[in-house]
């Protein structure tokens, strides 16, 4: 006790505490007096000021952020829309006002009355929307008669406008009215009922970036609802602008090349994962979503057999066909079941057990090594590599190459494709694996499934010395004033499970496929650019069942899908492309030329 307090004892503190209680009492007395003054003495006056019959709050919508391509070419902007609203309590005579109005805008008064009736029971000072987006002519008519239309006013609202109709529709996405689930949720805290929010594509993924913050205006109005004074304005904060990695000229070229076909094209910068083009055919016009579309329009879009609402690049799953041979070659060389000089003889078929596996080329390829096998796409060679590897090893390499897993591209609902394994088959079908199935898997048929974006990521990694980048569509986010907020990230997701030496052998095969006359993609070769690529022809009817061969006279929907994956130039690649044309028959003839034209445009700047 002594050491602690020196000469101070506890009684001394107690005296000082009593003094403190008095100070506190005095301070609280001030608060209560002030409260009494505000609420009791001046209360009446403040009550009058707070009555809401003369003060209104008008909402100011924030302009949504714009979307640009990588060269700052505008893709999406906003246009003003004029919405006609009415506050029934402000009209001296509702029926008369509606009649005058109906003459102005040529809508029968009954129809307008019906809109108001919807809100009956809550006929307050809340504005009721009569007609959306009335256009400039009707706006002029309403403005002229403004003084005989008490209670009627026009709201200017920014509406979304997609400048290049149908272009990159699946990437940009579209907007729709927020659902009840989206309104209460944590994801979009500021969304109110009736708001439009992004539902698909970039509009959805970057919703919180694009939206901005709603503002408001507190106004005093007179008896007819005309604003006499603006008391306060809280400005809306415009949303941020989004700059995509998309190259609009390349995108348009891709769409032009895909016209009248069903399929998809995706182009990527192999050195950083930036998506340069993402085209789908058929496409759709996003502008029809802006004013809301009818149930029938929506049903038509959904029931179209060519699935225009699906982003085939990220959501379309196809057998990768011969493009998969890149994986088989890597696995075979890495595991040592073959080396660069190992040759197999291809007589045009391969006998395994009691089954005959055909090579696509009836006459066979003769003696082939791995480079020739890639360039001529010899099935027999890869049957034997696959057989020596076994399904589990093959699946391990396929997963290492990014198949069977989402690439992580910043778009929603990405499909993951399928890399079949023994345990997968047991779970899925309850059946054991047949070793013959491994042979089909080795040439990319069977249960294999891959999306175009997975394939472009794979060929880009091959081009980029095995370094895998996450595909991305975001270049940067800037404020409406042009200040940079953030930039898109270039994320390395891993390496292909392959050494430099092996990769060089595979690349040589890809080079020969395009640049030698015996290669399957000779049609793609260019004089000035060394393109490397791999064709693929995804059989939709099992080859065994149609031993007679698939002729071009088969019905269209049984025609195989055509694949082509490529990168260019051979040294220091700048672009990687994956093309799929549904029922396009051959990879070389249907898909190859599309890639060739895009490479030409991108690297040589010629159409």
């Amino acid at each position: 006790m002594k050491i602690y307090t020196n000469s101070v004892d506890i009684e001394w503190y107690k005296q000082r505490l009593i003094m403190m209680v008095f100070i506190v009492m005095a301070a609280f007395a001030i608060l209560v007096i002030r409260l009494f003054y505000l609420q009791v003495i001046e209360g009446e006056e403040f009550r009058r000021l707070s009555e809401n019959n003369c003060i209104r709050l008008q909402s100011i919508d924030a302009p949504r952020g714009l979307i640009f391509d990588r060269h700052s070419e505008m893709l999406v902007d906003n246009r003003p829309a004029f919405d006609l609203s009415i506050i029934p309590k402000d009209t001296s005579n509702l029926n008369q006002t509606l009649e005058t109005l109906s003459a102005c805008i040529q809508v029968p008064p009954e129809e307008l009355m019906a809109e108001i009736k919807k809100y009956k029971g809550d006929l307050s000072y809340k504005p009721i929307l009569l007609k959306k987006d009335i256009g400039r002519d009707l706006l002029a008519a309403v403005e002229v008669h403004k003084y005989s239309l008490p209670g009627v006013f026009v709201d200017i609202k920014p509406l979304r406008h997609y400048i290049h109709k149908e272009s990159a529709a699946h990437l940009l996405g579209y907007m729709g009215e927020a659902s009840a689930r989206e309104i209460g949720g944590l994801q979009y805290p500021e969304v109110r009922s009736g708001d439009y929010i992004g539902k698909f594509g970039v509009e959805k993924i970057y919703e919180n970036v694009l939206r901005g913050k709603r503002g408001g205006r507190q106004v005093e109005v007179n008896a007819t609802g005309q604003v006499v004074r603006v008391i306060d304005t809280v400005d809306a904060i415009p949303g941020h602008n989004v700059i995509l990695t998309l190259d609009l000229p390349l995108q348009r070229k891709a769409e032009e090349l895909l016209k009248d076909k069903v399929g998809a094209v995706v182009a990527m910068d192999p050195t950083n994962g930036e998506i340069l083009a993402m085209a789908n055919s058929p496409s759709f016009d996003q502008n029809i979503f802006v004013d809301g579309l009818t149930t029938k329009e929506w049903q038509d879009l959904l029931s179209n057999p060519h699935k225009p609402m699906v982003n085939k690049v990220t959501q379309g799953e196809y057998p990768p066909a011969s493009t998969y041979k890149i994986v088989t070659a890597i696995a075979g060389l890495e595991e040592g079941v073959i080396d660069e000089n190992t040759e197999f003889y291809c007589p045009g078929f391969y006998k395994y057990g009691d089954r005959i596996f055909q090579c696509w080329r009836k006459g066979g390829h003769g003696h082939v090594s791995v480079v020739k096998a890639i360039s001529m796409s010899c099935d027999v060679f890869f049957y034997q590599v696959g057989q020596k590897l076994g399904i589990e090893k093959l699946a391990w390499y396929a997963k290492g190459c990014g198949l069977g897993l989402p690439t992580g591209i910043n778009l929603d609902r990405e499909a993951e494709g399928l890399v079949p394994t023994i345990s997968w088959k047991r779970q899925r079908f309850g059946q054991p694996w047949h070793s013959g199935e491994t042979l089909s898997i080795a040439i990319g048929q069977g249960y294999n499934l891959a999306t175009p974006v997975q394939m472009v990521a794979l060929i880009a990694a091959v081009a980029n010395d095995g370094v895998r980048f996450k595909p991305t569509v975001l270049k940067s986010v800037i404020t409406a004033g042009g200040k940079q907020v953030s930039s898109g990230e270039h994320k390395i997701t891993g390496r292909l499970p392959v050494s430099k030496e092996v990769l060089d052998i595979v690349k040589k095969g890809l080079w020969e496929a395009v640049n030698t006359t015996s290669g399957t993609a000779w049609i793609v070769h260019l004089k000035t650019i060394e393109v490397c690529g791999k064709t693929g022809t995804a059989q939709l009817v099992s080859r065994k069942a149609s031993d007679e061969g698939i002729g071009s006279d088969d019905p269209r929907h049984l025609q195989p899908h055509a694949w082509f994956v490529a990168f260019a130039p051979y040294e220091e690649p700048k672009i990687a492309i994956s093309v799929i044309v549904e029922h396009g028959e051959h990879g070389s003839s249907a898909a190859g030329p599309i890639a060739r034209e895009l490479i030409k445009q991108y690297l040589l700047n010629e159409g």
Partner: protein, 367 residues
């Protein structure tokens, strides 16, 4: 080991007042967020409930520890809070132009709240050791000055002038409580009078704006004066009995600024009138006088000074907040303890009250 007197001396009044204020706060918060369509209302309400519950749980666990241990832990708590304040300037989340929040996984916390408590504990330890009947000399005040200065500068830098000033006011109250030598007091006051005008030049634009607006609210009714005018209209229009629960119109139209945080009392005053608001003010008075009563009952200096420090923290927050919303003071960001929305504030307040209860529980344990 366990002393039955711990329960015998348990302060049920303080716990009851805490729960009562919390309950009333929930009601007001419900009304405040129910109206503001902009805010995801249920989420805020539930979060506040969770924080309140978490604070109570922490409080009950803290009863197991003798508050006298804070004497030894004070220095570490202080160092930790300084480290947190420094890191908030580096890693902190930027909200509305100031960097006050630290994001740790799912939890966002405000280190300045912890610093407040750390300064109180550290100062209590120092004054308990050095206070004497003649009061503190200038030399003896150098250390307390530094103890306050470091967190003060770090918090000003965020910038959060409200909390920084609060720490100074709390420290000043504690210092005056242990008494300052007459000579020293006179010299400190003369220095203050000279330096206060200089501070004006250090303030940020919006801070100057608020003070000017406070001195003359009509100067800029569309801009900075808006908060004060709207708040006064809301409070005044409540009149004697209020407009009724969920019936506030200023609130409904979302005219009130920060209606669920610093300005929550306006919502209360509009809906519950003079009767309800006066009642709340009296409950706060009870809380504070009770805190001083605990100091009065304590029989060792550290406990006395610690409870004075905590009580003065509660007092200043209540006083500044209520005076601010009623237009008696410039707008500074100080929440109303236990009622304003905000996890850091709720939890710190409950823990502080927990320490008061702790001091009261152990008042029989004098060495």
């Amino acid at each position: 080991m366990f002393d039955r007197r711990l329960i015998e001396y348990f302060d049920w009044v303080l716990l009851g007042v805490t729960l009562l204020l919390g309950l009333m706060g929930m009601g007001i918060l419900y009304s405040a967020v129910a109206a503001g369509e902009i805010i995801p209302n249920r989420v805020l309400f539930i979060k506040q409930l969770i924080w309140f519950g978490a604070g109570l749980v922490l409080m009950f666990f803290s009863f197991l520890i003798n508050y006298k241990n804070l004497d030894r832990w004070g220095i570490w708590l202080y160092i930790a809070s300084i480290a947190l304040l420094a890191s908030v300037l580096v890693f902190g989340k930027l909200v509305g132009g100031s960097q006050r929040w630290l994001v740790l996984g799912p939890v966002t916390m405000q280190p300045s709240e912890i610093a407040k408590l750390a300064v109180i504990i550290f100062l209590a330890k120092y004054y308990a050791k050095y206070s004497n009947i003649n009061g503190m000399s200038l030399r003896e005040l150098i250390k307390p000055f530094l103890i306050v200065l470091i967190p003060f500068m770090l918090i000003v830098k965020q910038p959060d002038l409200g909390t920084a000033m609060l720490i100074v006011l709390i420290a000043a109250s504690m210092t005056i409580f242990v008494r300052i030598e007459r000579r020293t007091l006179i010299s400190i006051m003369s220095v203050c009078i000279v330096t206060i005008p200089l501070i004006w030049f250090l303030l940020k634009g919006y801070q100057k704006q608020r003070i000017l607006t406070f001195l003359n609210p009509d100067r800029d009714p569309l801009g900075a004066g808006y908060h004060i005018i709207q708040s006064k209209i809301a409070i005044g229009s409540g009149m004697i009995t209020g407009k009724g629960f969920l019936k506030g119109t200023q609130n409904v139209l979302s005219f009130l600024p920060e209606q669920h945080t610093d300005f929550i009392l306006s919502v209360l005053a509009e809906e519950w009138g003079f009767v309800g608001t006066g009642l709340i003010v009296l409950i706060y008075l009870l809380l504070i006088v009770w805190g001083l009563n605990i100091a009065h009952g304590c029989r060792e200096p550290f406990g006395v000074i610690l409870s004075v420090g905590i009580t003065s923290m509660l007092f200043w927050q209540v006083f500044i907040n209520i005076a601010m919303v009623m237009g008696l003071m410039p707008v500074v960001g100080v929440p109303l303890p236990l009622i304003s929305y905000g996890g850091s504030s709720v939890i710190t307040t409950i823990i502080s009250i927990g320490i008061l209860i702790n001091i009261n529980m152990r008042r029989f344990m004098v060495d």
